[in-house]
Structure formats: C-alpha cells, structure tokens
Amino acid sequence: MTHAAATVDQMRPPYPAERGLDVYNTKLGMWVFLASEVMFFAALIGTYVILRFGATGEWAKPGIVLNIKITAFNTFLLICSSVSMVKAYAAIQDGDPKKMRFWLLMTILGGATFVGIQVFEYMHLVEHGFTPAGVREGSELAGLVANGTLPAATMGLYGSTFFTMTGFHGFHVTCGVISMAYLYVTKALPGKYSQQDYRGIETVGLYWHFVDLVWIILFTIVYLI
C-alpha cells in the first residue's frame, strides 16, 4: 500500500481508534477469525461426538491406547505458556519491553516443546500400531484387540478422529509458535512495541489463548473421557 494512511496496521503510535467500534482492525479481525476457527473445530469435534455416540459396541479405551501422563504434562505446559503470554502482555502494558521479551520467549519455548512432545507421542503411537486407519496388523495393539482388551469395532474410528483433531490442533500451535517467533524477531527485538502500541502482542495473545482453550476441550474429550 502506498498510502500508509489507508491501513492502520502500518501506523506508528499514536494510532487512531477506528470509527465504528473503538477497536483497531487487527484485533477485531482476529476476533472475527477466531469465530471461524470455532466453527472449524466445532465440525471436527461434532464429528467425533456423532461417531462416538453413534458407534455400535463400546468405544476404544484411551487409557490403554494413549500415554495420558505425558499428555497431561503437555497440557500443563500449554496452560503455562498461556500464563506467560499474559505476563508478556502485562509487561508491555507497564512499558517494560525487556520483561515482555522474556515472557514472549518463554511462551514460544512452551509452545515449541508442546509440539515436540506431540510429535514424539505420535511416533510412539504409530510404533505401537495405533494409526489414523486404525490398528496396524501384527502390531502390539493388534494383540490387545485380538485378546479382547480393546474393541475391534471402534478402533478405526478412534484413530481417525484422534489423529485428525489433535493433528489440526498441533498444526494451529505450530502456526502460533511461528508467528510469535516472527513477531519476536521483527518487532520485539528491535523494540517496536511500546506502552502506546503493542497490538501485535495483544492479537497473537488472543490466538494463543484460543488454541490453549481448544486443547483443554480436546484433552478432556479425547484423552480422559
């Protein structure tokens, strides 16, 4: 855009509150985008619910298939990263860029670790024979299915829904980490955030809390119940 005036985003403080709502465009835009994200996850989760409660025979036992402990720790980690995000936000509101950088970095690390652990978890699961297509022939889990510990009928559905839902959540976390890292390098380090203008932090923060919230729901319905 040649005329900077047209896009508020490119303006430096003091940036004007928009006409319409007293919210700047990027924040409003993020809220709108999150509405659409809600519908996306609603579709995936709704599918899970319909398939699970429409299924004939008992549902797969998460406790046996998955490693709940690691994931519980992972959940804790993600919640912490949400807290550190809040701290970063608070820091820049008090006009402390140094503190903000630290907490933003913590958030990035937290998110990255979460994704790492999830990748590890996937490898582990596939190795033991739990795949999106169901239980792999001749694998460890196939034995459990054979001796009736696990229901043969619903393992396929569980694999399909589990990997799709957690996979897309992982994808969202990855996007969040990348965008935070981008902001950290291009905005935070050069000290472009100030008490007057911290829109980037606030906007990415909204996204991050949303992703966190989605995970808490997923963890409950996919791992615990």
């Binding site: 319409g20 835009g29 994200e37 579709a43």
Partner: protein, 588 residues
C-alpha cells in the same frame, strides 16, 4: 500524523509508481483484486457452461457422437460418444464450477471487494494483503479443480454434493486422483472465502466514512455484510468435511465408511450445514445489488428499507436451521423432518417480503429501462418463480415424489441462473464504468438480455414438467426407462434452447471485451445514482478518495422534493445538513 496523511495524499495523485506486478498481479488494491476475481470467475463460468452443453447433448441424443467431441480423449468420449463415467464427471464438475468458481466468486469475490470500500467510503480493505491472499488461494483452488478433469481416471464423479461413501471410496466411484484433487481444491476455496469474509466484516464494522451509520448503508453492503458472516461461519465446516473426506481417500481413515463403522449420513449433515447457508451466500448479494439497481431504475427510494434489512438478517439466521430439508429422503429421523419442514417454510416469508418490497419500489416510480434495470426486473420475476417452486420441496410429502428429480434441477436453476446470474449481468453492466471507465454497449446489452430471458425460460421451465413425470437427476440416458421415453422430445427441446442460451452468452462476452477498449468513455455518475462510489472519477483511482467523503443521508434519496433533479447523493451537503457527530479521523 498530518504529515503521514500528507505523504499519503501525494501518493494518491493519479499516477502511482508501483511496478506492473504489484499493480495488476500481486495487487493489494481492492478494485484490482475485484477485477482479477471478475476475469477468472467469468472464465470458470464459461467452463461450467461448456460442461453443461455436453450434458445437454447426451440427454437429447443419447449415445450419439457429439459434434467436436472427437477431440476428447478415449477415456471421456471415444469417437465423441460420451461415456457414463464422463457424464457423471460433467454433472459433478458443472455444479462444482458454477457454485464455487463462478457464482460465489462473482458475487462475493468481485462485488464485495469492489463495492464495500467504495460504498462505505474508505481507502481500501482493512487487510489488503490478506485480501490478495484470498484471491490467490481461490486461483490455486480453481487451477487444481481444472487440472482434475485431465488426470488418469478423470475428475470427481459423486455429484457436486460429493455424497459419501461413493466419494470416499475409489473402488466404488472408479475415480482416483481426481476425487482427491476435488477435496484439495475445496480446501483452498474455503480458505479464500474465510480470508475474504474476515476482511469484509472488519472493514464494514470499522472503516465506514463519517456519517455512514448502519442504517445509511446501501442494501448491497448490508447483504454483503451478512453474506460475509455466513461465509465466515459456514466455509470452515465445509473445509473440515473436505479434509476428513480427503483423509478417508488417502490415509485410510473411516469417517464416512460404514463398512468400518463410519457414518454415511455424517457427510450429508456436515455438507448441508455448510450447504444451506451457502445457498444464501449465492443469493443475498444478488438481492442487495438488485435493490440498489431497482431503486435507481425506478427513481424512487427503496420501499421499506428497514424491513429489507431485517429480511436479510432473518434469512441469515433461519438459514442455519433448515439444512435438513435437503435430507428428507435420506433416512434421517422423520420427526426431525417435520421440524426442518416448518423452519424451511418459514424462511420463505422474508423472501416474499423482499419481492413485495421490490414491487413496492417500482410502484408509482418513473422507471428507466437501462440494461441493469432490465436484468434487475427479470431477477425479481425469475426469483419469484424459483422461490415458489421451492415450496413444493419444502412440503415433505410432495418432496417424497420430486426429490432428486428434474423439478429440483429446475428450481435451483431458477434461483441460481434466473436469480443470481441475472443480478450479476445487471451488476456487471451497472458498475462497469466505475471499474473500467467505459460503458458497455446499450443496444447489444438489450439484445443479450432479451435472448437470454427467452432461451433461459425455454431451457429451465420445461424441467418442471420432466420433474413431475419423475425424471431423475444425474442420469446418463433417460431412454433406458420406458416411462421417460415419451418425454424425449422435451429433452431435445430443452437441449436446443440450452445451446441457444449458451450461444447468447457469447454476445455478452464479446460486448464485455469490446467495451474494455472501444466502449464509450463513462462520465463520473452515468446512472445518476446516490452511492459514494459515484463521487469518484471513472475508473475509480487507486486509493479511492484523498479525503473520504462525509455522508449526510441514506442511499436511496431519489426524486426527493428537497432538490430539483431526481437524485440526491449521500455525499451531497445541503444547507440544511449538519455535520455528523464524529469527525473523520486524521488520515482518513
């Protein structure tokens, strides 16, 4: 700040210094993006029409070699004779191209992009770069869909609704890569639509010109706003469903595969939960733009502006609870069927209100029949038919007979062609001067309109009769059924009308291209309209206004006693007008 604004203004000066690529290819200017959408989706409109022509040939002359069909590969039409598997690909791709790559981008991609900033009075979209990505995501999706026609085993072939498990299992459909490319392409379209919608919504909420209150918005903007909300919330559901379908196809998940515990009806619920709001995405913007054109053509304020707005909102809300009326015969719980029937019949009411208000607008008007007005009036007439024929389907016992027959085909074409497409022809002619600075040929426009109107009705009205005979949709050769053989002459008649209808559209395309270079230079406000866009020179310059105009009144002040001439622009300050409460923000 003022300095920023100042530099900005110098940048507005009408020669701008961007490279050709930034200016016309990877442009972030909402007008250029709108025009990009226009060219690409007009191309897909032609493709969709071409596919339809092949279907019509096969239906009129089953098993006879199609003229020029020889160029098609043996896997589609050996010796020009269309194969059944190619026919169902035609059915599928015609629907897909028309819905996702022609009508939807023409309405939303083109006119939401072009009109919103111009009509609400701002320099550009809230997120110009996201806007650019929205176009390119759509473009990639289109290319993928086009390519899928030519891969081994051919394109997707489960109908544009992609009912599982036929779409999910290659051994059932006989397609392979084409089926997967369909899902991929749809995911791109979904992304494009979501990016676009969040842009439109943010822009309309936040960036209206001073004085442009909600109830001073033109109905076109209102309908595009509601459409954007529908798109924002509906498309993610489709994307999710398409992703699951793709996983079923390539990594062996079992979402829609009953053989492994999945549910076949799940796809239908997901698809139609998206699909019914989609139906309104395909008609609401048309309604909005027609409202603008009818008020202009009648030289009268819109009759019942507020109820028009509430009708749009009502349709948008009800649109979420009627998806089941596509599934009355699907084995869904009949009690659900009852409730879906009632909600469906209720949604007819706001549509009726709109039709009557359009008539009320024309009543005691001073009607000018410029080409856009002709198309707008045709829209009302045809949409009325399409809406009324919808009532037959809504009544479940009747639907039990006409579901999946040509009655449905007739109905949906009366709404999508008679409705959306007529409105689009009108809109293209109407805003052409603001896009390209020239007028389209009036006489040829009228020739195109009348021929289209005649052949269109000859093509689609008889389909009601076929439907009443029980003629099924999507069948390759009706003569296989003795009870359909007597209707073959009607199929021939429909096909010939369809060929003429297609030929007529070439007039429009020639007119369109010819006028780009040779059309008469357009003045600033050729239709004597009130919208803010007409305060700009034609074509509208990059960045639109240097200082956005202030709005003093609603958009439909035609034949107002306050002034001598029969229109009173929103931006025209009369001595009696007071400045709006909130002053324009610096730099805007």
């Amino acid at each position: 700040m003022t300095t920023v604004a100042a530099t900005a203004h110098t940048a507005h000066a009408h020669h701008d210094d961007r490279s050709f690529i930034r200016k016309y290819i990877f442009s972030t200017d909402h007008k250029i993006i709108g025009i990009q959408f226009l060219f690409v989706s007009l191309f897909f409109l032609l493709i969709g029409g071409l596919l339809a022509m092949q279907m019509r040939w096969q239906l009129a002359y089953p098993g006879q070699p199609m003229p020029g069909g020889g160029i098609l590969p043996e896997t589609m039409a050996p010796g020009g004779v269309i194969l059944p598997e190619y026919y169902i690909q035609l059915v599928t791709m015609h629907g897909t191209f028309m819905v996702f790559f022609a009508i939807m981008p023409l309405l939303v991609g083109v006119y939401a992009n072009f009109l919103i900033p111009l009509k609400i009075g701002t320099h550009d979209m809230a997120f110009p770069r996201i806007n650019m990505w929205s176009f390119w995501s759509f473009f990639v999706g289109g290319l993928v869909m086009l390519a899928s026609l030519f891969v081994p085993d051919g394109a997707a072939r489960a109908g544009w609704t992609m009912y599982a498990p036929l779409s999910a299992r290659h051994d059932f459909s006989g397609a392979s890569l084409g089926q997967e490319l369909w899902s991929v392409s749809i995911i791109f379209v979904g992304l494009s639509s979501i990016l676009g919608s969040l842009n439109y919504i943010t822009t309309i909420i936040n960036n209206r010109a001073p004085g442009m209150t909600w109830f001073r918005l033109p109905l076109s903007v209102w309908s595009l706003f509601i459409t954007a909300i529908l798109g924002l919330l509906a498309l993610p559901v489709l994307s999710g469903a398409a992703i699951m379908l793709l996983f079923d196809q390539i990594i062996g998940t079992h979402f829609f595969d009953p053989a492994a515990g999945g549910q076949a009806l799940l796809w239908q619920h997901l698809f139609w939960f998206f699909g019914h709001p989609e139906v309104y995405i395909l008609i609401l913007p048309a309604m909005g733009m027609v409202s603008d054109i009818i008020a202009n053509g009648s030289r009268k304020p819109i009759f019942g502006y507020h109820s028009m707005v509430f009708a749009i909102v009502a349709i948008a809300f009800l649109g979420w609870i009627v998806w089941g009326h596509h599934m009355f015969m699907s084995g869904m719980n009949p009690t659900l069927g009852s409730s879906f029937m009632v909600s469906t019949l209720v949604i007819a009411v706001p549509s009726a209100v709109k039709v009557f208000n359009w008539m009320g607008t024309m009543w005691r008007g001073n009607i000018r029949f410029h080409v856009p007005m002709l198309h707008a009036v045709a829209f009302v007439a045809m949409f009325a038919i399409g809406g009324l024929s919808g009532i037959y389907m809504a009544a479940t016992p009747v639907d039990m007979f006409i579901h999946d027959t040509y009655f449905i085909v007739a109905h949906l074409h009366y709404v999508l062609f008679g409705g959306s497409l007529f409105a689009l022809f009108g809109a293209i002619v109407y805003w052409y001067p603001k896009m390209f600075g020239r007028m389209m040929s009036e006489p040829w426009g009228k020739v195109h309109f009348w021929l289209t109107f005649i052949f269109y009705n000859c093509t689609f009205f008889p389909m009601h009769i076929l439907g009443m005979a029980g003629h099924m949709r999507r069948i390759y050769d009706p003569t296989q059924y003795t009870f359909l053989q007597p209707y073959q002459p009607m199929n021939v008649f429909i096909s010939i009308s369809a060929f003429l209808l297609f030929a007529t559209q070439l007039i429009f395309f020639v007119n369109f291209w010819w006028s780009l270079r040779k059309g008469a230079r357009a003045e600033q406000n050729p239709w004597h309209d009130n919208g803010l866009e007409w305060s700009l020179p034609s074509p509208a310059p990059h960045g639109n206004w240097e200082q956005v105009p202030t709005v003093y009144r609603g958009p439909y002040e035609f034949s107002s006693p306050q002034v001598a001439e029969d229109y009173l622009p929103q931006y025209k300050k009369l001595p009696t007008d007071r400045e709006p409460a909130r002053a324009p923000v610096a730099g805007h």
